[in-house]
Amino acid sequence: MKLPITVINRSAVQYIDEYRKKDLILALSAELKKISSKEITLMEVCGGHTMAIHRFGLLSLLPANIRLLSGPGCPVCVSSQHFLDTAIAYSKIPGTIITTYGDLIRVPGSNGSLEKEKANGHDIRIIYSTLEAVDLARENPDKKIVFLGIGFETTAPATAASIVEAAKAGLNNFFVLSAHKVMPPVMKALVEEGVKIDGFIAPGHVSAITGTEIYNDLAMKYGLGVVVAGFEPVDLMQAILMLVRQFESGRPAVEVQYQRVVQGGGNKIARELLSRVFEPKDDRWRGLGMIPLSGLKIRDEFAEFDAERHFNIHVPESSEPKGCICGSILRGLKTPADCGLFASRCTPADPVGACMVSGEGTCATYYKYRS
């Protein structure tokens, strides 16, 4: 008997529904199966891509010779434990308000989390825009407002804008603890380390800011294909098809699948803002260690807004939690299924490693969409 399930005739949400059409996805799947002959390993760098691939069940639509690896592109997951310990230490300074994007609040530091410090009475607030933190600084001249800056080229311009805004307003109580990172160095580091990758599905929103030339090296020097992709199932299937075409024909290149958002040169205003406020520095990635010139440091011109230079607090380096293999997962060497803690001691409700905390972390994605 056929079930009388109601099928709602939903009004289309523009830029979403067009890219979720089942027949298009299946057509792309059929084309992939037709043209893909060689074994190929592709890395989706961005946590948003990992999530979409699992949410829409795309793995089951790929031929067996195409392997996808999840990369280090989840901001919460790659922020070092030391960064979190520092944020927790700042939260304990009387008269300080910590402002943060929500994802960070439950990440375990070496002892406690921001969520637990909040329950201990420290003032920790979730915000949605960096400018809210600047407003808080304006409204509370007797408090020190610290914004925890995490994320890649996507979120860093908004942090830069907040610093410029604070400077313009003449504020002396607004500070940024920057763990901002940039994408290309870590992608190169993975390749140089010997992780077997034949091509990258590159994060769409990074290139919306930076343009695509940041990947030219990967194609020219390392002979790897890079396709900048959107986040809907049709986007991802098409990006994979483009990478497979490059691979099969032996012509690696940098291409843009996400053309409705990404323009060749990126967003000029955001890029200028970025380089005005930040400069590259060697930076520590959770699970991956030190990567040269992979982080963003606040320039001397804006030093007065740099929390690390303002607060004279020494936070000891810490070790990664025992048994946690987030590092290998972020390198694409292992999957959550290889981890002894996965889904037993480490769950979204009580996470051990960072990859389980963020909704876009590989472990949280595997947990959510496990079957």
């Binding site: 009388p4 399930i5 919460v76 929500g102 994802d103 963020s358």
Partner: protein, 340 residues
């Protein structure tokens, strides 16, 4: 103060897994009795020859005013709905106010007027109450508690137990999901964008009454408030040891809610509703119940969204619009917006 000692986190109150654990491991352990052990939305109590339903709910919403309602309207709807989904006919309410010193009198009056109007609409009478004022900073503006009692017909007494659910039963909802949670979130000062999303906050006792009067096919009902549709269905799957299958394409969604969820990275199945009821109905009665619901203005967008199955016991599975399947879990922490 010992910082290592276990403390209450906001996640303990969000309707998800941590709150469930708190109730199981602390409250139920110390308050144990057969009525409470049922953990239904309202307790059904035997009072001589009659049975009554009894429930209570506290309201601490921020902001107090939001598109589609305010804390006063909500305080009536919440308690009325808890009674109605337990198969009861809500009759009397108590209302208690905890007010912060300095709270504007005009705001309080506006809230009380809405409360009275919603009570009249739902046909319940406010018969007792309490007022406390606390020092500035000792509560956040205004908290309201309501308790309610209702009468229960014999034929509806067992609905809350979900005992007769079997594979093949259909799952219905009376309209779009996630409206309340997203309307409240958009109303918070920190959001600078405008939406057309309004809270679905409404008393459902008349709609539910019409269904119960005209059909004997209702096997279970619950209002998917905090924790959303996903949490109610997971509790039901666990309680019955049966599986539940939901069709993504059948979920009624407001366009604005879909867009907000996409933007912030939320799953609409985890977002709170305040004017929705999930009904589990016998397969042969499902379509008729759908028609009854659609005739009520609060059920115009009603839909059959899924079914109970003998497969994957204890789990809720969503058949996605792109043809895949995925497990829908209970909410674990507060829904947090994604970073990028």
């Amino acid at each position: 103060m010992n910082n290592d000692e276990e403390k209450i986190l906001l996640s303990h109150g969000n309707g998800g897994r941590m709150m469930h654990n708190l109730i199981e491991n602390l409250f139920l352990r110390h308050f144990t009795n057969p009525v409470l052990a049922e953990q239904s939305d309202a307790a059904i109590l035997s009072m001589g020859t009659h049975d009554i339903a009894f429930t209570t709910d506290s309201f601490v919403i921020d902001p107090l005013f939001f598109p589609g309602g305010n804390i006063g309207k909500l305080a009536v709807c919440g308690t009325v709905n808890d009674l109605a989904v337990s198969g009861a006919d809500p009759r009397y309410l108590s209302v208690s106010f905890i007010i912060e010193e300095g709270f504007p009198m005009t705001d309080l009056e506006q809230i009380v007027v809405s409360l009275a109007a919603e009570a009249a609409k739902a046909g319940v009478v406010i018969v007792t109450g309490d007022t406390k004022v606390v020092n500035k900073g000792k509560c956040d503006k205004l908290f309201i508690n309501t308790a309610g009692v209702g009468s229960v017909k014999d034929k509806n007494k067992l609905i809350r137990k979900a005992a007769e659910i079997c594979p093949g039963d259909l799952i219905l909802i009376n309209g779009t999901i996630g409206d309340h949670g997203m309307a409240v979130m958009a109303a918070r000062e920190s959001f600078k964008f405008k939406t057309t999303v309004t809270s679905d906050c409404a008393s459902l006792n008349h709609l539910i009454g019409e269904v119960l009067d005209q059909s004997h096919g209702v096997k279970f009902m619950r209002d998917p408030t905090r924790g959303g549709v996903a949490t109610v269905l997971n509790e039901l799957a666990a309680k019955t040891s049966l599986g539940i299958e939901i069709e993504e394409l059948s979920l009624p969604m407001h366009k604005g809610v879909t867009a907000m969820c996409e933007l912030l990275g939320f799953d609409p199945l985890h977002i709170a509703n305040e004017g929705k009821v999930l009904i589990v109905a016998a397969q042969e009665e499902g379509p008729r119940i759908l028609e009854i619901m659609k005739k009520n203005s609060l059920g115009a967008n009603s839909a059959i969204i899924g079914r109970v199955t003998g497969d994957h016991p204890g789990k809720v599975v969503l058949k996605t619009e792109t043809g895949g399947k995925r497990i829908i879990d209970t909410l674990t922490g507060d829904p947090l917006p994604r970073i990028c």
